[in-house]
C-alpha cells in the first residue's frame, strides 16, 4: 500500500480543518495510507517573505524533521507547497543541512497535483447540480506551477458547472502580511475579486489556498453576500462520498 505524509499547514489547521480532513479522505479513498505526523506548525513563509530568513529557517527545520521517510509530502495549499518545494532550497542555500532539505523539497506536492498527476483519481459526482467559480491562487500557479489540475478534477464532476471569473488569475489581494501592511490596496483587490465572483452567478468560490479563501470570505461576509467560499478538497469530498 502506498504511503504518503500529509502536511496540514497552519491556515488549514486553524481555519479550514474540514478541508484537511477531506484531503486526507480523498487520498485514503484512492488507496493511499496517510501519515499525519505530530508537531506540524507552519512552513515559515511569512518570515521568509518579510526578509526574516533566520527565523524562517528555525521554524522550517523543525518541520522538515517531521518527514524523515522517503515518502511524498502532500499539502492542501499551493502557496505552502511552493514555499517548501521551491523556496526551501533557496532558504537553506549554503546551510549545513541543505542537502537534507533539498531531498525533502523534492518530495513535496500540492494535493490536487498529487491526486491528478500521481494517483490519477476518477471521481463520481453524487451531488445536486451546482454552479461554482474558481480562483486560481497566484502562488499555486505562478510559484508552485499548477497546470489546471484542480479544474480537471472539477471537470470530472457531472453536475458541477464551472463559471469562470472575468479575471481568474488576478491576485485576490491577500499576500500574507501585505493584507495588513497595505490594507487599503489589499482590501480594494479583495473587493474586486468578490464582485467578480458574485457576477458569475455561482453559489460557491473554490480555491486551493486558505489564505485566498480567508481573504475573499471576509470580504464577502462584510458585504453580506450570499456567496460562500470553500476549499477544493472539501468540495470534492462532499460531492463524491456516499453518506
Amino acid at each position: 500500500m502506498q504511503e504518503v505524509y500529509f502536511y496540514g499547514t497552519c491556515l488549514v489547521d486553524l481555519f479550514f480543518p474540514e478541508a484537511g480532513m477531506a484531503g486526507i479522505q480523498l487520498l485514503r479513498r484512492a488507496g493511499v495510507k496517510v501519515l499525519f505526523p505530530e508537531g506540524q506548525t507552519c512552513c515559515g513563509q511569512p518570515a521568509f517573505n518579510c526578509g526574516y530568513w533566520e527565523e524562517a529557517r528555525e521554524v522550517a527545520r523543525t518541520q522538515v524533521a517531521l518527514f524523515p521517510r522517503n515518502l511524498p509530502v502532500i499539502l492542501p495549499s499551493g502557496s505552502c507547497a511552493g514555499m517548501m518545494k521551491h523556496h526551501y532550497p533557496e532558504l537553506f542555500h549554503g546551510q549545513p543541512d541543505e542537502a537534507e532539505v533539498r531531498a525533502f523539497s523534492a518530495r513535496v506536492y500540492e494535493l490536487t497535483q498529487f491526486l491528478v498527476a500521481v494517483l490519477g483519481v476518477k471521481l463520481t459526482d453524487l451531488g445536486e447540480p451546482v454552479k461554482v467559480t474558481w480562483h486560481s491562487s497566484c502562488h499555486a500557479v505562478r510559484d508552485l506551477g499548477l497546470k489546471g489540475e484542480p479544474q480537471s478534477l472539477l471537470a470530472q464532476l457531472a453536475h458541477v458547472e464551472l463559471t469562470p471569473l472575468a479575471r481568474e488569475s488576478e491576485c485576490c489581494g491577500f499576500g500574507g502580511t501585505f493584507s495588513v501592511r497595505q490594507p487599503e490596496i489589499s482590501g480594494a483587490m479583495a473587493c474586486d475579486k468578490a464582485a467578480d465572483a458574485e457576477a458569475t452567478g455561482a453559489t460557491v468560490l473554490l480555491s486551493t489556498d486558505g489564505g485566498c479563501l480567508l481573504n475573499v470570505n471576509g470580504t464577502l461576509e462584510a458585504k453580506q453576500s450570499p456567496l460562500r467560499v470553500q476549499h477544493i478538497a472539501e468540495f470534492l469530498w462532499e460531492r463524491t462520498h456516499a453518506r
Partner: protein, 477 residues
C-alpha cells in the same frame, strides 16, 4: 511602520484608491494593453522561446558590460558621436547644460526619455534659463500640468480624453474646446511642429545602443523622436549604462519583444537607427551628436549577481500593465520616477532600501509581473531579497541603505513568531486558545484592525486539524 521611511506608498495609494476617475482610467487602459499584448503572442511556446532568447541576450550584455561599453564608446567616436560619462544625475545635468551653453542653445525639444526624468533634467535646465519642451504627446500633456509620468511608456495614461480636452482648452493658446481625439492631437501637433523647427537642440533617450556599430536605436510611434533627433542642429542622447548590446543581430529579437510586450504592436511606427551627425553631402540631420551615459547607482546594482537581473529591463512597462496594485493606484502613488513592479525593485536600490521600505513591502508577491516580463526578471524574488537587505544586510552586500529598515518592534514580532512555531507544544497550546477564544479577539486588535477595515474577522474553527487527527487515533508517526 518604519521611522526611517520618508515617503509612504500606503498613504499615497490609499488616496489614489478613493479617486474613482483615476481608477477607471487605469483599469480601462491597462485592460486594453493586456489584451493587445496577448493578441501578439498567440503561441505560448513561441513567446517562451522569444523570452528565453531576449533574456539570454540581455544577460550576456550585462556579463560583458564593461567591455561592451568601451567598444560602444570607440564605435560611436568613429561615427562622430561624442560619448560622455556621468556617475551621478548632477554630473549628467551639468554635462548637458555645458553642451547646450557651448552652442548658445536656449530651447531644447525632447523626445521621450525616462533617464532624463531620473535626472530631473527639465527643472534643472529651467533654473539655468533653458526651456525644455516635451514632444511626446503624453509627455507634452503632463508637462502642461507640471506633472510627472504615471507610466514609463504612456506618461499621461492617468488622464482620460475629457480631462485632456479641458486641459488643452485652458492651456493651449487660442485652443477651442473639443473632445475629438484627432482634433486634440492636431492641436498639440501644431504647437510641436513649430517647436521642432525653432529648437536649438534636441534630446532623446536610447532603447538599445549597439557596441559593434555605434548605433543608437530609438523606438517610437509619433515621429517626435525622429524630429527631435534630426531637425535641431544639436542632438543629445541620454541612456543608462545598461542599455548596450553587442551587435545589431541582438537588436532584432529585443525589438520584437519590446513593442509586443509594451503596446501590443508587432512593430512600432518609427524605429530610428542613429549613426552619427549629418555627413558632408547630406542635407539633413544634426551637426553634432552626443551620447551621455549615466550610472546613477547602476554599477552598484551590476556588482550584485542576483540584483543585476534588474538591469536586464528593456522598459516595456508590461509589468505595470499586469500589476494588480499598479492598475488600482496608478503611477503617481509610487512617488518615484519608475512606478510599478520594476520601480519597486529599482527605486529602493537607487534611493536606499530603508528609505523606500514602503515600496518593497507594497506587493502581494503575486508574480504577475515576472510572468509577463520579456526578459524574465524575477521581481518577487528580488523584492524578497531587498526586504531581507532592508532589515539584515547579507554578508558582502553593497545594497544602499542595507539594514536601515529595521525596527525593534518588527524584530520582536518575528522572534516571537519563531519562538511559538518552532515549539510544537507551544503552538498547540496557542492553537487551542485560538480555536476556543479566537472569536473573542476584538476587531480593533493590532494588525487585525487593518484586516477588518474591509473584511469580517477571521474566526478559527472550533477544533484544529491536529486535534481532529488526534481524536481519530490514526497513526501519526
Amino acid at each position: 511602520m518604519h521611522a526611517e521611511t520618508e515617503v509612504s506608498f500606503r498613504d499615497a495609494a490609499a488616496k489614489a484608491l478613493l479617486d474613482p476617475q483615476l481608477r477607471a482610467n487605469f483599469r480601462r487602459a491597462m485592460d486594453g494593453l493586456i489584451s493587445k499584448r496577448k493578441a501578439q503572442f498567440p503561441d505560448p511556446a513561441d513567446l517562451q522561446d522569444l523570452r528565453a532568447l531576449s533574456t539570454a541576450i540581455r544577460s550576456r550584455s550585462l556579463l560583458n558590460l564593461p567591455a561592451l561599453l568601451e567598444r560602444l564608446e570607440a564605435s560611436c567616436a568613429q561615427n562622430g558621436i561624442q560619448v560622455h560619462w556621468a556617475e551621478t544625475c548632477e554630473q549628467a545635468n551639468q554635462l548637458i547644460l555645458g553642451l547646450l551653453q557651448a552652442k548658445g542653445a536656449k530651447t531644447l525639444v525632447k523626445g521621450k526619455s525616462m533617464v532624463s526624468e531620473e535626472m530631473h533634467l527639465n527643472a534643472f535646465l529651467e533654473e539655468h534659463g533653458i526651456e525644455a519642451l516635451e514632444s511626446d504627446l503624453g509627455e507634452y500633456i503632463i508637462q502642461l500640468d507640471d506633472e510627472t509620468p504615471s507610466h514609463i511608456i504612456m506618461p499621461a495614461i492617468h488622464k482620460n480624453k475629457d480631462q485632456i480636452a479641458r486641459q488643452f482648452s485652458q492651456k493651449i493658446k487660442d485652443a477651442k474646446y473639443t473632445e475629438d481625439v484627432d482634433e486634440l492631437t492636431a492641436m498639440a501637433r501644431k504647437v510641436l511642429r513649430q517647436k521642432f523647427l525653432d529648437a536649438d537642440a534636441g534630446l532623446s533617450g536610447v532603447n538599445f545602443a549597439v557596441a559593434e556599430t555605434g548605433t543608437l536605436c530609438l523606438v517610437e510611434n509619433e515621429g517626435n523622436g525622429r524630429m527631435s533627433t534630426h531637425v535641431p542642429p544639436l542632438h543629445i542622447a541620454v541612456m543608462g549604462l545598461e542599455k548596450v548590446v553587442a551587435n545589431l543581430e541582438e537588436v532584432a529579437p529585443l525589438y520584437a519583444i519590446l513593442t509586443r510586450s509594451a503596446t501590443g504592436q508587432a512593430v512600432s511606427t518609427y524605429f530610428n537607427l542613429i549613426t552619427g551627425p549629418r555627413g558632408e553631402d547630406e542635407k539633413d540631420g544634426p551637426q553634432e551628436v552626443h551620447l551621455v551615459i549615466l550610472d546613477n547607482g547602476r554599477s552598484r546594482i551590476y556588482a550584485d549577481p542576483q540584483l543585476r537581473a534588474t538591469l536586464r529591463c528593456i522598459r516595456c512597462g508590461a509589468c505595470m500593465n499586469h500589476c494588480p496594485v499598479y492598475t488600482r493606484v496608478g503611477g503617481h502613488a509610487y512617488e518615484a520616477v519608475y512606478p510599478g513592479p520594476i520601480g519597486k525593485i529599482l527605486t529602493p536600490q537607487v534611493e536606499g532600501v530603508g528609505t523606500r521600505h514602503d515600496l518593497i513591502h507594497g506587493s502581494s508577491l503575486c508574480g504577475a509581473c515576472a510572468e509577463v516580463c520579456p526578459v524574465e526578471i524575477p521581481i518577487p524574488e528580488i523584492l524578497i531579497r531587498l526586504r531581507r537587505e532592508a532589515t539584515h544586510a547579507d554578508a558582502g552586500s553593497q545594497v544602499l541603505g542595507r539594514g536601515t529598515g529595521r525596527t525593534a518592534s518588527e524584530d520582536w514580532a518575528w522572534r516571537l513568531w519563531a519562538a511559538v512555531l518552532k515549539r510544537p507544544a507551544v503552538y498547540r497550546l496557542s492553537a487551542w486558545f485560538a480555536t476556543r477564544f479566537g472569536w473573542a479577539l476584538p476587531a480593533g486588535a493590532p494588525l487585525l484592525k487593518h484586516w477588518t477595515r474591509s473584511r469580517t474577522k477571521p474566526v478559527p474553527a472550533r477544533r484544529s486539524l491536529t486535534e481532529r487527527m488526534r481524536a481519530e487515533g490514526g497513526r501519526h508517526d
